[in-house]
């Protein structure tokens, strides 16, 4: 059973070991080159400045070829080293220079020399970074909310956007030369007396600069490979010469076979992550657009194992990419995840099964490399072949949290309801983890804007608009809990307060977007998303065909559980008075009576057990969010894209841990500082009736309106999937959730508690132990102790 997926070739094995044994470093090359380009091009339009920056970096950064690789292209001076992107934010980098090596999780090494380099460029960036400008632009009320952290959008002003899949299909087919030709033609015909044309002309010129830079970058590898071939032993020399030829052709020309397509894809995917440090840059429907090249190569005699080796090689390459975030932000995205999603399976536009031979090889190869990158999503649909389902469950049994399932049955209609055409809706792919977009046509951040802390919002609502933790007034008060005579008053307070904070969240997001548009537009990325070139607008100006974005919430389950406990214990059964409950919450259930009160609250119905009493309150509480968020427009509204609005999504990534740390005790019986529930999963250890009940509870949410993703994690221990017939029952469970209950997403974490505890004690023995933190996989041993404990504490579903 263990060998169902087979073994990696020795060279891939070696490459993998090297990557796993690498301690990530901080790389300053991009920072230095970017500073140089910015200094030299201060006078230029921002799009040109950005293009010259990309050119400076691609033409001067270190390039190298790993001895084991057949696909070339590196992000930084060493694999897994994280570049610094100074134009986004520098304050935290300088502040944390001496802390990178001391971190509890996501540690990075940095040399004294590099620290000095960063200190030297810092003065130039003061007041010039995205963060400086965005913070200065925030209206006063939004600033308070940002400072307190009830809404988090630090990630939006300290790094780039990404959260999209570009039009890889066209790049592979026609090459960048086709883009260059098109842009040149447009540029030649522009009448500069028209304001819009003049503005667009800089964008077009920027595209030409960037494409030339990509050409030089590929050429550098072509030359390097040829040079290294001179010194290599014959077998490797032949490989390097082949690599050299491929790099001389792609990504400028169209690919003709599988190796060319793989190299072309990697160049683009890599350069987009050099251009900007946004994460969740996703591959889209890899098994669909790669198929013609796969078929051509198989026809020409390329063997199955060669195809697999190349696929495994690409997955290892995705792991070479790294990102360093501020410590504050790291806690929201533990495990330095890049969320490079790859989506396979699903249906074709005419409703047929899209699973092909390459789909299966992607599954096999990822089953061999077993790494947290890429993040694999399988699109489920009712007609999914049971053999393929069985293979997916075989992978789940390997215990590294993949694949995640996203269901066509709900996602396609949800997208159509948002205004996406049928053909595009059928072609959706996962972006990052659970969220979805249309590859090559959808702007940044289909989800991934700011996070709203639901339970904290409830506590502010019950405390006349004042945050208990900081004592600061957050918004207009609607009274105190101790004066609320009926449960309806509690609901009304939640409704009013949540709406005020959602409103503030939109202000923060739109302000961040406005400044990103002005300061850090991405040129290559925009050139590869339809219809930026046609409109002469980069993505943040409204270049994409679709542009709808979603914010995220943390602690959906805690909100519902808290409402249920208040309703039952205070207003219906009168087990507690308002005063004594409030007193217990303020004092974090201190003393004997405090613990008694907590036990009473814990006995109230909890979300995740298929109990309508509480599930309906979760839905009702969430309805406020759904109703309010759809009133708002993003900064691209009316500028071209379909949509230009907001919608809901529940992917909270790892934000549940730090957000919980800053949240006082809550009426669901949760102590102050304890983690909140993640995504739409039940609160920790509160789902005591098994997976079917969890599915039932989750399915009561208005999933079709939460098109940004309804994230559900389930954990199982490996021994329970040892029998084939049990695996079949898991398949039935998942199928029922999707076909009948219209679930959106589910992923399984198959690890035993014992394994995790042992891994905490002996991290050196578990270097490749991967867990789902929430919507993505991470190495367990690099997570902070707190996050590790959180994972261990989650209920193990008895399968």
């Amino acid at each position: 059973m263990e060998n169902y997926f087979g073994e990696m070739t020795p060279r891939i094995q070696k490459f993998r070991n090297n990557l796993l044994n690498t301690t990530p470093k901080i790389c300053t090359e991009r920072a230095v080159l970017t500073t140089k380009a910015y200094r030299e091009h201060e006078m230029d339009q921002v799009v040109l400045k950005r293009a010259y920056m990309v050119k400076e970096v691609l033409e001067n950064m270190s390039v190298y070829i790993e001895p084991e690789t057949l696909i070339v292209g590196n992000q930084a001076s060493e694999n897994r080293a994280a570049p610094i992107f100074p134009e986004y934010a520098m304050d935290w980098v300088i502040k944390e220079l001496d802390e990178f090596e001391k971190r509890n999780g996501d540690r990075f090494e940095i040399s004294e020399e590099n620290k000095q380099i960063l200190r030297e460029i810092y003065p130039y960036w003061k007041g010039r970074t995205l963060q400086d400008k965005a913070y200065a632009a925030y209206p006063e009320s939004a600033k308070t909310i940002y400072d307190i952290g009830i809404i988090r959008n630090e990630g939006n002003i300290t790094s780039g956007d990404a959260h999209l899949a570009v039009d890889y299909e066209s790049v592979l087919k026609y090459g960048l030369k086709a883009v260059r030709d098109r842009v040149q033609r447009i540029l030649e015909s522009l009448d500069y007396t028209v304001y819009e044309n003049m503005k667009s002309s800089y964008f077009y010129k920027a595209i030409l600069i960037v494409i030339d830079a990509v050409e030089s970058f590929a050429k550098r590898y072509s030359e390097l490979a040829a040079k290294e071939a001179e010194r290599a032993e014959p077998v490797r020399a032949a490989e390097l010469l082949k690599v050299s030829k491929i790099c001389a052709r792609v990504p400028m020309e169209g690919a003709r076979n599988f190796p060319e397509a793989m190299q072309s894809l990697w160049f683009i995917h890599l350069i987009l992550q050099i251009e900007s440090n946004g994460h969740s840059l996703s591959f889209g429907r890899f098994d669909q657009y790669m198929l013609p090249y796969y078929e051509a190569s198989v026809k020409a005699g390329m063997k199955r194992e060669e195809i697999l080796e190349l696929l495994e090689n690409l997955w290892l390459k995705t792991l070479t990419i790294n990102k360093v975030r501020s410590w504050g932000h790291t806690r929201f995205a533990a495990g330095s995840p890049m969320y490079q999603n790859i989506t396979i399976g699903g249906q074709t536009a005419d409703g047929k099964d899209a699973v092909n031979e390459l789909t299966k090889l992607v599954l096999v190869s990822i089953g061999r490399t077993r790494l947290p990158q890429p993040n694999l999503t399988v699109r489920y649909f009712a007609g999914m072949d049971e053999d393929f389902m069985r293979d997916c469950i075989r992978m789940i049994k390997l215990g590294f949290g993949m694949p995640a399932f996203n269901s066509d049955e709900i996602i396609i209609p949800a997208l159509e309801a948002l205004g996406v055409s049928k053909e595009d809706a059928y072609n959706y792919s996962a972006i990052g983890c659970v969220e979805v977009g249309v590859p090559g046509k959808w702007g940044y951040r289909c989800t991934g804007m700011s996070y709203l802390n639901f339970p904290k919002t409830l506590m502010i609502a019950l405390n006349d608009g004042v945050d208990l933790t900081t004592g600061k007034k957050i918004c207009k008060g609607v009274g105190k809990f101790t004066d609320m005579k009926t449960f309806d008053e509690v609901m009304a307070a939640w409704d009013k307060t949540a709406r005020m904070l959602i409103h503030q969240g939109v202000i923060l997001d739109n302000c961040a977007d406005m400044v990103v548009e002005q300061e850090v537009p991405d040129i290559l990325c925009s050139a590869l998303v339809k219809d930026c070139i046609g409109r002469g607008k980069h993505l943040k100006e409204g270049g994409a065909v679709y542009d709808m974005i979603s914010q995220l919430q943390v602690g959906v389950a805690n909100l519902g559980d808290s409402l249920a406990a208040l309703k039952k214990c205070v207003y219906e059964e009168k087990l507690l008075t308002r005063e004594e409950l409030w007193d217990a919450l303020v004092n974090d259930f201190a003393g004997e009576r405090g613990e008694e009160i907590r036990q009473i609250l814990l006995k109230a119905p909890k979300y995740g057990n298929d109990d309508d009493y509480v599930d309906e309150l979760v839905v009702k509480g969430y309805d406020t969010y759904l109703d309010e968020i759809k009133k708002y427009k993003n900064t691209r509204y009316g500028r071209g894209p379909i949509g230009g609005n907001y919608y809901a999504g529940t992917s909270s990534v790892a934000a549940n841990v730090p957000q919980g740390a800053g949240t006082c005790a809550t009426p669901d019986g949760r102590h102050a500082g304890e983690p909140l529930a993640e995504g739409c999963s039940p609160a920790h250890s509160m789902d005591t009736h098994g997976p079917t009940s969890v599915f039932k509870s989750v399915s009561k949410l208005r999933t079709k309106e939460i098109a940004g993703g309804v994230l559900l994690n389930q954990k199982v221990t490996p021994q329970v999937l040892s029998e084939q017939k049990d695996c079949e029952k898991l398949s039935m469970l998942v199928r029922t959730f999707f076909d009948v209950l219209h679930g959106y997403h589910v992923q399984y974490n198959v690890v035993s508690r014992e394994t995790l505890l042992d891994a905490q004690k002996h991290p050196e023995n578990y270097k490749d132990l991967i867990v789902r933190v929430a919507g993505y996989s991470a190495f367990f041993t690099v997570l902070s102790t707190q996050t590790q404990n959180d994972i261990i504490a989650r209920t193990e579903q008895v399968l």
């Binding site: 298929d610 017939k725 049990d726 039935m732 469970l733 399968l799």
Partner: protein, 249 residues
């Protein structure tokens, strides 16, 4: 409407019948198996030490119907177990009628030491029967469980003739019925009764902690669990008698 005592309604059970099932655990038992993994089920209905709750048949029905969508897709349903379901016969009867009216597939797990008339009447309402046979020898049966096996064998005999789908289960207990000569004797008895389907349940220790909680003496404390591989030869002796045997649920 009948009321009854239920000590657990457990969703997503995979090992007590076809598909995804909900197990309904009835309180009260007329056996006192020394190895019992559910000692709380031996407490009489309404005993204050018991955590069992009193339900109407309607309430149980409502609870089991919550997972109806999962039964449908997987060919599953509800399994009545315990304790001994027949200890609350009228309640069980009314519940089965209601579940049948809702199209649910119903299985039962019973020790079978019950009045044959009641046995046949309830079984007629069911889709599948798991009936235990803990020992082939009535003296030994009495030693291990507190009562002889006469009624059980009578009910098995009727069941086999009735045409109802069934499986006879043997909990294989170390030092009690786990020798190969025990297996042979079981097989001879089953041939005589016409039993065709047997499941062997290896002894496990999942209930050990419950005895501590109930402050009850446990004769099998610390006894090693049996595993699938321990029962290989044991199982083959059934196959040799043309009885289909499987290990585990």
């Amino acid at each position: 409407m009948q009321k009854g005592y239920i000590f657990n309604i457990q969703k997503f059970c995979l090992h007590d019948g076809a598909g995804i099932r909900t197990d309904v655990f009835f309180s009260g038992c007329n056996l006192r198996c020394r190895w019992c993994a559910n000692p709380e089920s031996q407490l009489p209905c309404g005993d204050e030490r018991s955590e069992a709750k009193c339900y109407t048949t309607e309430e149980v029905l409502r609870e089991v119907l919550k997972d109806e969508v999962f039964y449908k897709k997987s060919g599953g349903g509800v399994t009545l177990t315990g304790g001994e379901v027949f200890m609350q016969y009228e309640f069980a009867m009314e519940l089965c009628q209601k579940m049948h009216a809702n199209g649910l597939n119903i299985a039962i797990e019973t020790a079978g030491a019950v009045d044959p008339e009641k046995f046949s009447a309830l079984v007629n309402q069911l889709d599948f029967v798991f009936i235990d046979c803990k020992h082939y020898d009535t003296q030994k049966h009495r030693q291990g469980t507190g009562i002889g096996n006469e009624l059980i064998l009578k009910n098995i005999s009727w069941l086999v003739q009735s045409g109802k789908a069934y499986t006879v289960r043997i909990p294989v207990i170390p030092g009690y019925n786990d020798s190969l000569s025990d297996a042979k004797a079981f097989a001879e008895l089953f041939v005589k009764l016409g039993v065709k389907e047997v499941q062997l349940l290896p002894f496990h220790q999942f209930g050990e902690k419950k005895y501590e909680k109930l402050n009850k003496k446990y004769d099998y404390k610390g006894v090693a669990q049996l595993h699938k591989e321990d029962l290989k030869e044991y199982k083959e002796l059934f196959c040799a008698s043309k009885i289909s045997a499987a290990i585990g649920g």
